[in-house]
Every structure is written in structure tokens, then in C-alpha cells.
Amino acid sequence: MSFLRIKNLCLKFGDWTLDVSIELGAGRCLGIIGPSGAGKSTLLSLIAGFETPYSGDIFIDAHPINDLEPSHRPLTFMFQENNLFNHLTLYENIALGCHPGLKLTQIDRDQIEIALSATELSSIATRKPSDVSGGERQRAALARCLCQKQPLLLLDEPFASLDPRLRSQMHQLVNALRKQHGLTVLVVSHMPHEVALIADELLFMQDGKIKEHGNADQLLENPTHPQLINYLEFTSSQ
């Protein structure tokens, strides 16, 4: 039984069409790779409800979510940027994951402490995003995602702007939290070999279509689709 099922999902922007079907089991991590304009971020936006599909259905845990508002979907999202409100402290930003009006119960506070501790942010929780590093900002966004307590985590290249060392640390953190909380993760990346470190499966997209989908290690070692071979050669040469 698939936890996430995307059936004939279609979106049109002029001549460009996205057309995908995906199935992903609970607790699995799917890395979505492909060149710019392939439709990776658009796919996440459709799942999160920021874009309305032309046709097709999305099911999470067998429940259709097409008609749900973004905030009512059982998922959390980390964007490429603007994951935090700059005028709020890290603590307040994280607390928004518990209650959008910041009316916190003791249970919420405990939950925030756990998230802060898991992301090693307890000592700087009162700082504002502008006063912390890029990695700390992304950890805070991840902590908020944890507080939202949703089973599906969507990551839209949130670590792209970090240096390789920090990126690696963040990937390890995501992996640890995924296992600890049993999260199902979809992560978009431009770096196939890095994302393969946490992804169980890889999905290669180009021009709005899925060209190849399979086990992460196998896909990288034995790619079959010519466009994927070209893409992997191109990314590894950079």
C-alpha cells in the first residue's frame, strides 16, 4: 500500500505540460532530480496545494487531498528561501508550527523544546533569523516542520545555498529525523550524488515528465535513459 500516490497528475503552462504518476511507500525518501525547468519544484507545489492541477489526483495515506487548502494537507514544506519570518525570533518561527496564532499550550512548549534540541538550536532560540547563520536558519525551518507533526516532508532544494559541509550536515540531520519520526520525504535537488546519500529512491524528470524512477544507488550506477546519463555526466563534471 503506497503512502503517497499521485495518479496522472497534469498541469499546463502554455506549451509546457507536467504529467506524472508516482507511488511512494511510508517512511521512504524520494529524491527528485533533473535539470532546471524539468518541473521538480512545480511537482512539490502541486502536492502542497500552491498550484492547482489541470487533472489527476493526489492521495496521502489513501485520502484524496486535491480539494484541501495547503494548510490542511498532511504535509510540511521547506522552500528554497523565505522559510522564516524575519521579524520573529527562531523560537516564534518554530512555534508557528504548533499554532499559527502562537497561542501555545504546555504540550506545544515541550514539543518546541524537543524540536530545538533535535536541531541544536536551544541556545540561540531567542535570536532573529538575521542574527544567525544560513545553516541555523534552515535548521530552524526544519524544527518548525517537526513541530507541525505531519507525516510527509517536502524539501524544495532548501540547502542549495549552503556550503558543501553544511549541506552534508543538514542531509544527515534530515535523515536522522526522518528515521526517528517515521517521516516520508520528497527532496528536490540539483546534486544527484548528494541527495542519494539520504534518498531510498531517485526520480529523474525532464520537460515535465518522469524519465526514470528506481532505487537510488542502482539509478546512479546504471542509468538507462540517455538524458539521465547526460545529466549525471554534466552534474558530476561540475
Partner: protein, 529 residues
């Protein structure tokens, strides 16, 4: 239907503005007969008024912006010196200062018995300087618009990247080459807009011309409307002049559409002159500080004289007069009403603008709504005031609805300030956090309280403070509706000056200035903190 629910507030505001502005213009047009329109083109009085209005506005703009260019360049070259921040802050004061108070200060410096003439007589110069007529109007307009132009010009220097200065240093560019190749391209983008803004302010200037000009040889259209309504009771003539004023302002405003973005004033603190190659010469330093010094003296002297005269005046007699407090209370009511109305109008508009940009991606529709609100800056208050005055006369409500009408005109007058201050951060917050807010389920009042309000609070406080202070100190429309010379504090001061009660006027001027600044300060403390 979904779009309508998101833009209803904007539609209400636009319809409201169209009814209020359009209604008063229509009523004015109906009062003016076609015969008078044709004869106006040959009426020597009208021709001389138009010629003077345009002439003084062109001269004032040329002097203000020309001097501003010199002083701003000096300020840009000297990006760090003690008191620079205070000086730029001081340049904001003439914007908040009631015109009539500034005129009092200018008269104290440049008037017949002013400081300048005393200095000239000490030096043995017999020819005395006169502040009345065109000279006085130009001095006063420069006093108001020189600092404004400087604050609008400073971003031109802020926008030049540090690397450009470094490159210029490596290439060994002279000061002249720097101006031609680096500074002028940045200035020339903004200059037409700044000139147009200053021109419009001088073109529609009322209190300055009424006080320092006003005679047949120095009357602008705005003052002629007032004189036609209040002295001659020539409704037809007033209506004709109002339409003429509106037509000329519309032409200028159409030009303004293209350069509207120049309204963003600056703190002037971001100018980075470290790598300029032309800041080290002694002559350069001396010239810059000479320009900055003269400008500072020109702005500081009238302000100092206001306080100097005020503290030497009959303070107790003036402030124990209940008429002063009644006039102050009316001014305060007008200021509060005007800011509340203006705030409601501004929020209604920008809420819809953000909706259009976020949900429907209709950039043009959003820009249009914002432009309609901002373009009210080009509609002379006296034109709307004339319409309201005619309505009040016809409905016999002159005595009852006066304060509301004055407040309404002031609300429309300060609307562009509010829009230009609040809309950029409000819209940017929307664009930046749109997805995150939707994802977290933050909407409606909750989103406003937690996300939007903390972001727009400071600019809102500044805009409300500024709008309130401007309304508090405005004399134009209030003078039109005045019946006993005591309707508001600025009108009261004008009458004291007119009656040569200079001692009382000096105290009233300080009182008015302090109230304006206090209003501005209090709003910023209460809301902005």
C-alpha cells in the same frame, strides 16, 4: 466571485475617491458657465495669474533642485562627518513644519526688520532686502523644497555600487569625469520626477503665496481661487480658476506617472564614499563643507528664529487664551479624522493591490489601483475644497460640516504619503511569505496581527505621524472655510500675522510647531515602537 471578494475594499476606495473628487469637480464645472471659459483666455488678470503661477513654480523648481544637486553631491562626497545624520534628520523638519510657521521664521530672518537686513545695515548697505513678492515666495519655496529634493536625490548616490568607485579610482577619473560618467547617469533617471514633484508643490502652493505674495502682481491660481471665494464672492470666477488649476495639474501629473518612484526618500546613511577618488583634495573638502554649511544655516536660521522669538513673546497671555485651545482642539480633530480616513483608504487599496498581485498575478491592475490613490497628490486641495465649499453653501451646512470637510480634503491630500510608505513593505511581505502563510494556515486577522503588522508598523507610524502633522498644520482649505479667523491654529496664526500682532504670533508659531512635532513624535512612539 473569488476575485471580487478579494478586491472589494479597493473598489470601495476607488469609487469613494471618484465620487468625492469627481463630484466636487463636476459641481465646480457646473458653476462655471461656458461663456466665462471662452472669455478667460483673453482676460488679462487670468493670463497674468497663470503666467505668474507657472513662472514662480519654474523658478522655484530650478533654484531648489539646482541647489539640491550641489548640496547632495557635497553630502554624498562627505559620507561621514559629525552631525551629518542630524542634518539629514533636520531636513525632514520643513516637511512636517506648518507652512505658516516656517513663513514666520523666514520673515524673522529675511523680513524688513529681520536678521539679514540688520546685518546689511551693520555692513553699511542701504538697500534693504524685501521678503514680500516674488523674492519671498522663492526663498520660502526653496526653504521647503531644497531639503525635500536633497532627500529624494540621495538615493541616486546610494545606488552607485562600491566597485564602480574602485574602478574609477583605478582609472584615475577626475571629479568632473566622475560626475559625467558615474553620478549623472544615476541622477538623470530621478531628476525629471523630482523636478515634477517640486514643480507641483510650488504650483499648488497656497499659504506661502497668500502670505508673502497675494497682491495683483504676485498671485497664483490657488490664491486667486481663495480670493474669488472669500473676498469677492465670485463663485463663477472661483470655479473657472479651479478647473484651470486642475487642467494644468493633470498635465503635470500625467508626466509624473512615469517617474512616480522618486517618492522614496532616504535616510542618506547608506552612501559609501570611501573609495571615491575625489574626496581627498583640500579644495574639494572646503567647497563641500562650504555648501553644506550654507545650506545648514539657511535651514537652521528660520527655525532658530521661530523659537527665539517665541520664548521672548507674551507666552502666558497667549497660552491662557481659550481661543487658542479651541483652535488647537479643532486642528487636532481635523488631524485625527484625516489620518483615520486616509489610513482606511490606504489599507483598503493596498489590501486589494496585494490580493491582485498574489492571487491573480495581475500586476497592471494592482499598479493602476495604487497609481489612482497616489495621483491624488496632483489634485490641488483648493479644487476639492472649492467643490466642498460650494456644496456647503448650497446645503447650508457651512457651519456644521466644516471640520469633516476639511479633514476629508486633508485625508485625500495625505493619502499618497501613506500609500508610498505602507504599500512597499506590505506588498513585499505578501510576496515573500505568501506560500509560507498559506502553508501554515495564517490568514485574515491572524496573518495581519502576526506577520503584516510587525512589518508595516514602523512605516505606518511614520506615515500617520507625517499625515497627521501635515493636516494639523495645513492652512489652505481651513482658510477657505474659516469665518472668524479662529477655525484652526494655522489660520489663527495667519490672522495674527495679518493684524501685525507679531509678539502673539511668535508664541502661537512655537506652540503650533511644538504641537505638530509632538503629534508626529507621539504617533511614532505609540504605534511605531
Amino acid at each position: 466571485m473569488r476575485i471580487l471578494s478579494g478586491v472589494w475594499s479597493g473598489i470601495v476606495v476607488v469609487v469613494f475617491l471618484l465620487i468625492v473628487i469627481g463630484g466636487s469637480i463636476t459641481l465646480t464645472a457646473m458653476t462655471s458657465t461656458p461663456v466665462s471659459l471662452s472669455s478667460a483666455l483673453t482676460d488679462p488678470y487670468l493670463i497674468s495669474v497663470i503666467r505668474f503661477t507657472i513662472g514662480q513654480a519654474v523658478l522655484s523648481t530650478t533654484i531648489s533642485v539646482g541647489l539640491a544637486l550641489i548640496v547632495t553631491r557635497a553630502l554624498a562626497r562627505r559620507a561621514k562627518f559629525p552631525g551629518r545624520r542630524l542634518l539629514i534628520l533636520l531636513m525632514g523638519l520643513p516637511v512636517v513644519m506648518p507652512v505658516i510657521v516656517a513663513i514666520f521664521g523666514i520673515t524673522a530672518v529675511f523680513g524688513k526688520r529681520g536678521l539679514l537686513n540688520e546685518l546689511l545695515s551693520l555692513l553699511g548697505v542701504e538697500q534693504s532686502f524685501t521678503v514680500y513678492g516674488l523674492t519671498g515666495i522663492l526663498v520660502a519655496h526653496t526653504f521647503f523644497n531644497l531639503p525635500l529634493a536633497i532627500r529624494l536625490l540621495l538615493p541616486a548616490w546610494e545606488s552607485i555600487p562600491r566597485e564602480n568607485w574602485r574602478l574609477a579610482s583605478m582609472l584615475g577619473m577626475s571629479s568632473r569625469q566622475l560626475f559625467r560618467l558615474l553620478e549623472w547617469p544615476s541622477i538623470s533617471d530621478r531628476l525629471p520626477g523630482i523636478c515634477l514633484v517640486v514643480f507641483l508643490l510650488c504650483f499648488t502652493s497656497f499659504a506661502v503665496v497668500l502670505t508673502l505674495g497675494g497682491g495683483p502682481a504676485a498671485t497664483t491660481i490657488e490664491v486667486a481661487i481663495y480670493q474669488a471665494l472669500r473676498y469677492d464672492f465670485e463663485l463663477n470666477q472661483a470655479a473657472l480658476l479651479a478647473l484651470l488649476q486642475l487642467s494644468l495639474c493633470t498635465v503635470a501629473a500625467l508626466g509624473l506617472l512615469k517617474w512616480f518612484r522618486v517618492f522614496a526618500a532616504t535616510s542618506g546613511r547608506k552612501v559609501d564614499a570611501r573609495d571615491r577618488p575625489d574626496i581627498h583634495s583640500t579644495i574639494g573638502k572646503a567647497t563641500d563643507f562650504f555648501c553644506i554649511g550654507i545650506c545648514t544655516i539657511f535651514l537652521l536660521l528660520p527655525i532658530t528664529m521661530i523659537f527665539y522669538s517665541g520664548i521672548r513673546g507674551p507666552i502666558y497671555e497667549v497660552i491662557s487664551d481659550p481661543i487658542l485651545w479651541l483652535a488647537s482642539a479643532r486642528s487636532l480633530i481635523i488631524a485625527i479624522l484625516a489620518t483615520v480616513i486616509s489610513m482606511l483608504l490606504a489599507m483598503g487599496l493596498i489590501k486589494s493591490v496585494r490580493f491582485l498581485r498574489e492571487k491573480t498575478k495581475q500586476q497592471k491592475g494592482a499598479e493602476l489601483a495604487l497609481t489612482i490613490g497616489s495621483m491624488t497628490v496632483a489634485i490641488p486641495p483648493m479644487v476639492i475644497g472649492t467643490g466642498f465649499f460650494l456644496i456647503a453653501l448650497r446645503t447650508h451646512t457651512l457651519a456644521h460640516a466644516t471640520l469633516i470637510m476639511i479633514a476629508l480634503v486633508n485625508a485625500i491630500m495625505v493619502l499618497p504619503y501613506l500609500l508610498r510608505s505602507i504599500s512597499p513593505p506590505y506588498i513585499q511581505a505578501g510576496e515573500q511569505y505568501y506560500k509560507l502563510c498559506r502553508h501554515l494556515g495564517l490568514s485574515g486577522l491572524q496573518r495581519f496581527r502576526l506577520i503584516d503588522w510587525p512589518i508595516i508598523r514602523k512605516p505606518t507610524a511614520f506615515a500617520i505621524g507625517l499625515g497627521g502633522a501635515l493636516s494639523f498644520g495645513d492652512m489652505g482649505v481651513a482658510a477657505l472655510f474659516d469665518t472668524d479667523g479662529q477655525i484652526t491654529l494655522p489660520v489663527m496664526l495667519y490672522h495674527q500675522l495679518g493684524a501685525y500682532q507679531f509678539n502673539e504670533a511668535s508664541v502661537t508659531a512655537v506652540f503650533l510647531l511644538l504641537l505638530c512635532v509632538s503629534f508626529f513624535w507621539a504617533i511614532n512612539q505609540i504605534i511605531g515602537r
